[in-house]
């Protein structure tokens, strides 16, 4: 009897937790397809009018463009800085290695409001406030650790002898990294880059400080929208953002799967 209860309790509990976690998402997605002119749940009927409205509104489209630009720049910066940093941290006994690692990871646990405020004060004299480059640089601080962690994990599981084999058969050490090591750890780097992109797209507080003026990324405009116009447009935007994240995770998942199929070491977390 008690065994059967136990056997039922675990799946039931899991299901309840899942419902609890997914409920807000489900509500937002359903509302975004609502036929009503205001936020109500459950929706009285379904339509795609809010998406149509969104895609014909130049303000929202402009915000989408800004978000994608900032996200793309963040991803590129994080990758270009993070991959060499990961090589340096995992391959060479540079002095103060653990300190540097801790410093890079620290941005994951610094309260975002503090990051936003200090970046704002730092940016004003540099003229970086209200620039896309400024926000991308700010988001890179938070995106970098994801790339570094994932790249270090991939490097650890990659066989060093592969690089040696390339070098002894005539490749310069740099060329060996480019031709052999990078393709092998690429899925791991990609997972890190995807995380960096997603955190940039979803980040609000730093964006409010750095790019909260006339030109707004989606997250900031969404925040403003929640406070003023209460119609399902914002639900449609949120659904779009969730969709973007799901898509990005799916890409990372496919990359992982492909690397496993090719017999390469699995990438990070």
């Amino acid at each position: 009897m008690s065994v059967r209860v136990g056997r039922l309790a675990i799946p039931t509990g899991t299901l309840l937790v899942l419902l609890y976690l997914l409920f807000p998402v489900v509500v937002v997605v359903l509302i975004s397809f609502s036929s009503a002119r205001f936020l109500s749940f459950p929706p009285p009927g379904y339509s795609i009018q809010w998406y149509a409205k969104l895609l014909s509104d130049p303000d929202w489209l402009n915000s989408l463009a800004i978000t994608l630009q900032v996200g793309a720049l963040t991803t590129v910066f994080s990758t270009l800085l993070g991959v060499p940093a990961a090589f340096a941290l995992s391959r060479y006994g540079i002095p103060g290695r653990s300190f540097v690692t801790a410093l890079i990871l620290a941005s994951l646990i610094t309260p975002t409001i503090i990051k936003g405020l200090s970046l704002y004060l730092f940016y004003v004299p540099l003229g970086l406030v209200n620039t896309i480059w400024g926000l991308a640089a700010a988001h890179t601080v938070s995106g970098l650790p994801y790339v570094v962690i994932n790249t270090i994990a991939s490097l650890r599981s990659a066989d060093r002898d592969l690089e040696r084999a390339a070098v002894i058969h005539g490749a310069s050490p740099l060329w060996a990294v480019v031709r052999i090591t990078l393709p092998i750890i690429a899925p791991g780097i990609m997972v890190g880059a995807v995380f960096a992109f997603i955190q940039s797209v979803h980040e609000l507080l730093v964006a409010l400080f750095v790019l909260g003026g006339v030109e707004k990324p989606l997250a900031v405009k969404l925040w403003a929208g929640v406070r003023s116009e209460v119609d399902p447009t914002i639900a449609a935007v949120s659904t779009g953002l969730i969709g973007m994240a799901v898509l990005a995770y799916a890409c990372a998942g496919v990359a992982q799967l492909l690397s496993k199929r090719r017999g390469l070491p699995a990438a990070g977390p």
């Binding site: 002898d161 592969l162 040696r164 084999a165 002894i168 058969h169 005539g170 393709p183 090719r262």
Partner: protein, 371 residues
């Protein structure tokens, strides 16, 4: 064919007082060694003997603390690994997982030569034929068996006709049958291309089967270097005697030195005669008498023959190996191993009294190592 391809004459490698330490551990302790051009040299030793470190120093993956390495008389210390024109087969093969067999084998050509793609193709197919792996060009390493991966690794190491081929325990991951087959194939490839081979292993059978020259290493030093026959038949110390093949080492003291033999009082209380050769021993020296197990004969009755030792003992262990019978016999408190070939129908049991004999000429005197 392009003129910038180095001809496949093997390099003569000289190692001169080479030393490498890791922290306080001395991995290679001032060794000197001459590797003749085109020879097959095996560095043999237990793990931690410095053989792999020596190989990595030749490859240039490590730089020595002292001493030098010369290829054909030229010091290579300042030549980076990728310009040393070496091929290498790694223990785990280290095939590039994201490249096909064709691209793996073609990699050194791309890096080192300016061959046109048609010339490269010809060379790659030739090399794959050498390792008997034609028809696998489009496969990826993960689609190959261990033995096939081993062949690809050989082909990749040889394709650019390097003057030196390094092999780091390349057969370690294969099963016994495949390993024995590959030993002969590697030897055949060596004979047909004339490149200098430096092979690292801890497997004495591999070393004996393939090498022109075996270098036995222990604790970063060279214990003895010589042909397989020299090392097996005339080892210079207990370590070499014990490491190559089975060895009975009977502890004793030199009792008398005659013109053609030593008389040795073995610790158990019997005296044996050992032929006198270049070993410089005098009466009173602590020595070991080496008797190979396959030289030992076992009989149920005493059968003293001229030129043979014969002592009585008790069988303590019997092992049936199929092609031979392995016995352990206690003679006056000393265990003597015997390996009897053609033992079909010969039944013997633990506890039986037997007579152990060996030809005097097969025994060898070794000074007891002071290390």
């Amino acid at each position: 064919m392009a003129a910038n391809v180095t001809p496949s004459r093997g390099a003569a490698v000289r190692i001169d007082r080479l030393r490498k330490t890791f922290g306080s551990a001395v991995a290679v302790d001032s060794i000197s060694l001459d590797i003749p051009t085109g020879s097959f040299v095996t560095l043999l030793g237990p793990s931690g003997s410095g053989k792999t470190t020596t190989l990595n120093l030749i490859a240039g993956f490590l730089s020595p603390d002292a001493g030098s390495i010369l290829f054909d008389g030229a010091i290579v210390s300042n030549v980076p690994t990728h310009k040393r024109n070496i091929g290498m087969v790694f223990q785990n093969y280290a095939l590039f997982p994201h490249m096909t067999v064709f691209d793996n084998v073609g990699f050194p050509l791309k890096m080192r030569t300016k061959l046109t793609s048609a010339e490269a193709r010809t060379r790659i197919l030739e090399t794959l034929a050498l390792v008997e792996l034609n028809g696998f060009e489009a496969r990826y390493p993960r689609q190959l068996s261990g033995g096939q991966q081993q062949r690809v690794a050989m082909a990749r190491a040889l394709v650019s006709h390097p003057r030196l081929l390094l092999m780091d325990e390349p057969l370690g991951a294969l099963d016994k049958k495949l390993r024995e087959q590959m030993q002969f194939e590697i030897k055949n490839i060596h004979r047909s291309i004339g490149t200098t081979f430096v092979y690292v292993t801890h497997d004495q059978t591999e070393a004996l089967t393939m090498s022109d020259l075996i270098v036995v290493m222990n604790y970063g030093k060279i214990e003895q270097a010589g042909t397989p026959r020299q090392l097996y038949e005339t080892p210079e110390n207990q370590f070499v005697a014990d490491f190559l093949g089975g060895a009975n080492l009977l502890p004793g003291t030199v009792a008398a030195v005659a013109a053609d033999h030593f008389s040795v009082a073995v610790e158990g209380g019997f005296t044996v005669q050992v032929p006198r050769d270049r070993v410089a021993a005098k009466a009173g020296d602590a020595v070991s008498v080496l008797v190979r197990p396959e030289e030992v004969g076992v009989a149920l009755t005493e059968d003293r023959q001229a030129g043979a030792e014969c002592v009585a003992g008790t069988v303590t262990a019997v092992g049936y190996l199929g092609d031979s019978l392995k016995l352990e016999i206690a003679v006056a408190g000393i265990a003597i191993g015997a390996k009897l070939a053609r033992a079909r129908g010969f039944s013997i049991e633990s506890g039986q009294r037997v007579f152990v004999s060996w030809p005097r000429a097969s025994a060898r005197l070794l000074l007891r190592s002071t290390r």
